[in-house]
Structure formats: structure tokens, C-alpha cells
Amino acid sequence: MHKEYLMGNEAMAVGALAAGVNFVAGYPGTPSTEVLETVAKRNPGNVHVEWSVNEKAAMEAAAGASYAGARSLVTMKQVGLNVAADPLMSLEYIGVRGGMVIMVADDPGPISSQTEQDTRTFAMFSKVPLFDPSTVEEAFSMMKEAFDFSEKWGTPVFFRATTRVDHGYESIDVPDENEYEKHEAEGFIKDASRFVIFPRLSVKNHALIEKRNSELSGILSKYPRNYILPPEGDGGSRAAGEGRIRRKAIATHGINYTYVLDAFHGASRPEILRIAVPFPFPEELAKEFLRDKDEVLCVEELDPVIERALIHVCGKYSIPVRIRGKLTGDIAPSGENSVDSVADALADFLEDDSIRNVSMDLDDMPALPVRPPVLCAGCPHRASFYAVKQAMKGRKTFYGGDIGCYTLGNAEPLEMCDTCLCMGAGINIAQGISRVEPDTKCFAFVGDSTFFASGITGVVNAFYNQAELTLIVLDNSTTAMTGHQPHPGSGRTAMGEIVEKVSIERVLRAIGLSFVETVDPLDLEASIDTVKRAQEQKGVKAVIFRSPCIAIEKPAGKAVVNTDSCIGCRKCINELGCPAVVLDGGKAKITSSMCTGCMLCGKVCPVGAIGKKD
């Protein structure tokens, strides 16, 4: 045992290793990525770790490992779960042999995602039990319990955390490597009656699942992490009309539990129902909690899962308690909660203003500049977008975007991302738009990792259905947005093995595309020319812009402005939006510490005032 300062995601990884996990697969996605990376980094040598091509592949691979008796972990962000939904829904009917934990990171806010979906709701839909830790320490210690539970009940289980637990840090006690549990997989035992999903099997297993979940509701009422925390002090109860005391209490979960505790730091507080496993919902525990209450405030993020469950328990057992929360407008129906929003909700609920957090007086604060994320200085995507924009100047165009750093191409001044929906969607959206608007030149931008994850089927569909579009693959040889994970085109695996690269060009040619050209986007002239030639072709054609992500390459010198020649026209600033180029005394200036020497600004300058130094 030793103490470490760990991120929640790292703690989950160590928890899985300590539980003897044998097989780990996943697809990168904020805020989930560090779980798999940490397993890879701390691999004692006997764990198979892979970045799968997408979440569906990861889920299936982990299911296979579990069929063979291995303990398996699969990691993804919440929208990744949508991709993996098909195997998961059926897998619940089949069940597992080795413990299988599906780690899903939810993102209230959302901070780095397309949706605010709640995996707790997905758990109810898929009938898969779910663990919901509140702290980094719990992210570690609950993981082993999740594996044991999965194995005991023969079901995959969700391990759902939200961003603030995933990316929170805490100093916690963790076991040394020699204290890790060992789990031996006994191998796959053929049994078609168990592993082949025919309707007859499904109807039988569906009944068994419902019976099991109803039994689990009782068992989970005694699970030590679902508990009632007794009140402190006067319990926050306040006198109500007719000399009666209204007995108020709080129900909460996840990081919100810590916000609630923080709000009462040192002061008295009411009773709290803390739910760590919201599905199957611990009804007996809830009944006991509700027994002597008048009002309960449910402090939840994302969906009102506990709130609905408590309303259900009240109705089912005729318990006269008013349940408040999102459905009553006491907690915001969307967005991320904070220590402040929770303190305010508690202050309103308990009619006690001393609970609120208050800022110093800042009424006269000056207006601050907005600072949204931007493409990095020297990012090759900027050059690719600029080349396409120049090539298509004056034409009616559509630019389908996709998920990755290059979504940031939507910002001014580039404005080269007209749509973004979900992984790989840009290609077929461009196809749909081109059918309705044949006079528009349609482009679809897709990153290399997204191309492999879910772009290939889109290209096959577009090619087969005779679409008119130009596919632009932005190949920076890595999964950049999530922190540079390898992928099938990078020639390296999560275990560090050097493997044969899957060639994007050869995939596209095999599909049948006849125009497939690769160009370095930092060569502006060649890039513009290639795009112009590509879009003149009929059907689906592809340009691959290949230049490595600047975060994994050394800078190639620095750009410098010759202030005598600079005419202060701001073209470099207004057309590129590079964070390294600023205006200083009416002239362009390069922030040397940021510049990577890509020299795109030099190519844009109309008077040749920007040169390069090594």
C-alpha cells in the first residue's frame, strides 16, 4: 500500500488492475481517455490493452474475452456508448462469465461532448446495473466491487463517472503491484444454448433478467455504498405552519454528494440518502429513508433518475412525501451543477441563506474578452482549411465537419465547418445535402482516427449510392484532441507494439475511388491545386492532407516579421486566426514561444514581410 495523487480515471485503472483485469479495450473520448492509458502505462505485463477502432469493436472484444472467462474492462465516453449500444443491448441478454465492467464517462455541461446524456438512464434501458462513484477514492475502491458483482450475477455492469470525478485528483491509498489480485481465465467453453442469441433464448433470458433485477433491488438496499447519512445538529429542519416541524432531507449521488457535504461545511445538515447504485434502484432503503420525511430535495446532474425512482417508491407504497428536484424546478434541468448552484438550491430548500457561497462585490467588473478554444499555432488543419477555402473562393460550397480538433475550424476567421453531428457523420451529411442541392460543391472533412472509427462505412455508402462529394481526410497521424492516442493508421498499438499501418489511400482505392491524392497542407500552392483538380471530378473523390500534429513534432524554426516591410494590412491575422500572430503597434508580431515555423503566415503575406529563422 502506498499513497498517490491520482486522477479519478487513473484510480479506476489501478482499481481494475488490482482486481486482476485481464483484457482492456476502449476508444478515446474526453473525459474517459486516461483510464485505458493508465492501464497501458502500469500494465504489469499480463494485461491485453487495446485502443479499438471504435467503441462497438471494443465492447465486442471485451465481451469475447469475458466469454472466455477473462475479467474485462471497456472504456468510452457517453456518446461512445451509443456506438456500442448494439452489442451491449444483446450482451445483457447473453450475460458474461468473467467479470465485465463498462466504464462510461458522462459529461454534464457538456464540457467536451455533443450531448448531456445520462448513462444511468441507459442502464435502465439496457437493464445493466450501474455503479456511480462520488470521489477519486471511490473510483478506485468501487471498481473491484463492480468486477465481483459482475461475475457473481453474470451480467456486465456499468461504471459511470462524471467529468469532475474522472478528472478530479485526490491523494489516496493504493496497493502496490505485488498486492494486485490474480485472475486466471479458464477459456471458452462451447455452449450454443448459452451464447447464440435466438428469439427463444431472448424470451427466456429476458424473464430471468427482470427477476434478477428485482432481487438485486433488495440486495442493493444493503450495499454499504448506498446509505443514509444521519443528520448533524438540528438537521436543517425548520418550523412550519401550525407548530409542526417539516422534516426535510436530501437525496443525491456522484460528485453532487460532495457538493452537498461542502455546502454544510461545519454547520448542521439534514439527513442524506446517498445512492451509489441507482439501478437496480434500492427500493427498501429508499422506503426506510422516506418513512419519516415531509420533503426531499434530489440533487442530481443530468437526468432526474433518483427523483423519478423516489416518486415511484412514494406512489408504490403510498408514502406521502413531496419529492423535489429537477421536475419541480428546484434544480436546473440541464447543465452542470456546481458547489455554488447546489449551495443555492439547498439554501432555497432549507430557507437558510447562510448556506450560500458569496463573491466579493464585483458589480463594476470590466467586460472580458471571450476565449474559446482554437486550433494551435502551427496546426496543419489550419493550412488544410485555408487551402480548400482558397481553392473554392467564390463558389457555392458546403463543408461537412466532424469530431476532432478540426471541429475548431468552425471558428472565425476560417469558418470551415458548416455541420458537426457525431463521429463520421460529415460524409453522409454531405451526401444528403448534395442530393438536395446539386449545384453546391460538397466537401466532407474527417480526421484520420475518425475515418477509421466510423468514416469508412460512410465512404462506402456515398460511393455505392453515386454521391457527388469531395472527401478531405485530415491526417495528422494521431488522435490529437484526446491527447495523442495511436490508431490503425499510426502503426503503433496501445501496448507500444509496432504494427503494419492501415493505409487510408489503399482503403479508399479498394472502395473504388479513382481520385485519391495525398498532399502536404503546408505546401499551400500544391494543396490549392490538388483541391481544385479533385472537385472537378465526378463522384466521390478524396484528398488526404498529411502533416503530423505539431504537439508531437519538433518546431521547424520560427517565423519573424520584418517590421520595416510589414504594411499592417492584418491579412495574416484576419485570414488565419493563428494564436501566435498578434498586432503590436499596428504591425504583425509573431509570439516566438508559440510559433512552430509552419510559415503559412509567410505565404499569406502580400508583401513578403514574414521570414523564417532557425
Binding site: I111, S171, N357, M360, P366, L368, P369, P413
Partner: protein, 201 residues
């Protein structure tokens, strides 16, 4: 019954622009606290905002701390890597709290292409007006004196130690630097740690 010591907590807010090195600074503080047996927890921006957006770290030290997030008006100390970001985070600084702020603005692209403005002087004077215990660090000067712009985080950390609100000594942070950083970066960062103190002498 909880003693005063049990309830003692230090809340530190670090903020700046993605890519400035706020994360390492918070890690060094946490390391130093843990060495002294103090419970540490933190929350920080990871993800898309790291590409040049506004970023922050909430770092909380103390055994009674139950959540990594810092509420409004509850930070004892703010370490800001950029002046506009310091003002943005002022709602979290407690009345009478200390702030260490790098004076050099980082112009957002939005301000350069004209869709928002950056009132640099107003921002600095507002900080001076609102924060009594304020240390402004001339980071451009520090970078040229230290011949590196990469150790701004440790320069600011040195100023934070000087503010007296960190609850940790220069020796504590020094030890954390020696333990965490690679050999070739140690001398530079130890110099950076003492930079503000020596400048003031």
C-alpha cells in the same frame, strides 16, 4: 468534535490559458502538501479548452475538504497566469484573499480578429482595486532574466510562497521540484522558484 486544525483548509485557484503550464504548478503544490501529510484534492480543465481556451485548477488542501471544487468567495489564494483570466476568476477569491498574477496579456484570437476586445489597462487597475494582497509578476522580464519562458509556472509559485497564503514553504516546493522534474530542468526551476523573492530584495 472537530478541532480547528481538522477544519483548516487552504483553497488555491490556478487559472490561465490552455497550454501555459497550470497543471504542473498545481501538481507541485499537491506533492509538497502530501509530503507533509496534508490531504490534497483538485479539479481542473481537461479537454477541448486546453487548446488555447480559459482553463483553471481548483486545488484544496486539508483533511476536512470533501469536494475538489472551490465555491464562490472561498479561494484563499489565486495564482493567475494571465490578467484577464485573473479577473474572470475573481468571483471565487475570498474577500481579503491573495492573488499572484502574471502581468503579460495573452491576446485571444477573438480579440485579434475584432469580435471581442481586450481592455488591458482597465483589467490591471481593476485587479489592483479589488485585491489588496496582490503580487503582479512581470513575466516577460522573468523570461528574459531566466532565459526561458517555460518556467513561468514556477516563478508564479515562488510568488505564491511569498504571499504567505499557500501554507507551504519554499523548501517544501523545492523538494517537490527536485522529486518531480527531470534532472536537466531542476536548476532552471529552482532559480525560477526564488526569482520573485530575489527580485524583491
Amino acid at each position: 468534535m472537530k478541532t480547528e486544525k481538522d477544519l483548516r483548509e487552504v483553497n488555491i485557484l490556478l487559472c490561465g490559458v490552455g497550454g501555459q503550464g497550470t497543471i504542473l504548478a498545481s501538481r507541485l503544490i499537491a506533492d509538497a502538501a502530501m509530503k507533509k501529510g496534508i490531504h490534497a484534492c483538485s479539479a481542473e480543465t481537461i479537454g477541448m479548452a486546453q487548446r488555447g481556451g480559459s482553463v483553471f485548477t481548483n486545488l484544496r488542501l486539508g483533511d476536512s475538504v470533501r469536494t475538489p471544487r472551490i465555491g464562490k468567495g472561498r479561494a484563499d489564494l489565486m495564482i493567475a497566469f494571465e490578467p484577464a483570466e485573473a479577473v474572470r476568476m475573481l468571483p471565487f477569491l475570498k474577500e481579503g484573499g491573495a492573488a499572484v498574477v502574471s502581468m503579460e496579456p495573452i491576446m485571444p484570437v477573438s480579440a485579434m480578429v475584432g469580435s471581442s476586445s481586450y481592455p488591458a489597462e482597465e483589467i490591471l487597475s481593476y485587479l489592483k482595486k479589488k485585491v489588496k494582497n496582490l503580487t503582479l509578476v512581470d513575466s516577460a522580464r522573468a523570461a528574459s532574466d531566466l532565459k526561458s519562458a517555460k518556467c513561468l509556472n514556477v516563478v508564479l509559485l515562488g510568488a505564491a510562497v511569498m504571499s504567505g497564503c499557500l501554507g507551504l514553504s519554499e523548501d517544501d516546493i523545492e523538494e517537490a521540484i527536485i522529486d518531480r522534474l527531470p534532472e536537466k530542468l531542476k536548476d532552471l526551476n529552482l532559480k525560477a522558484l526564488r526569482y520573485v523573492k530575489e527580485k524583491n530584495q
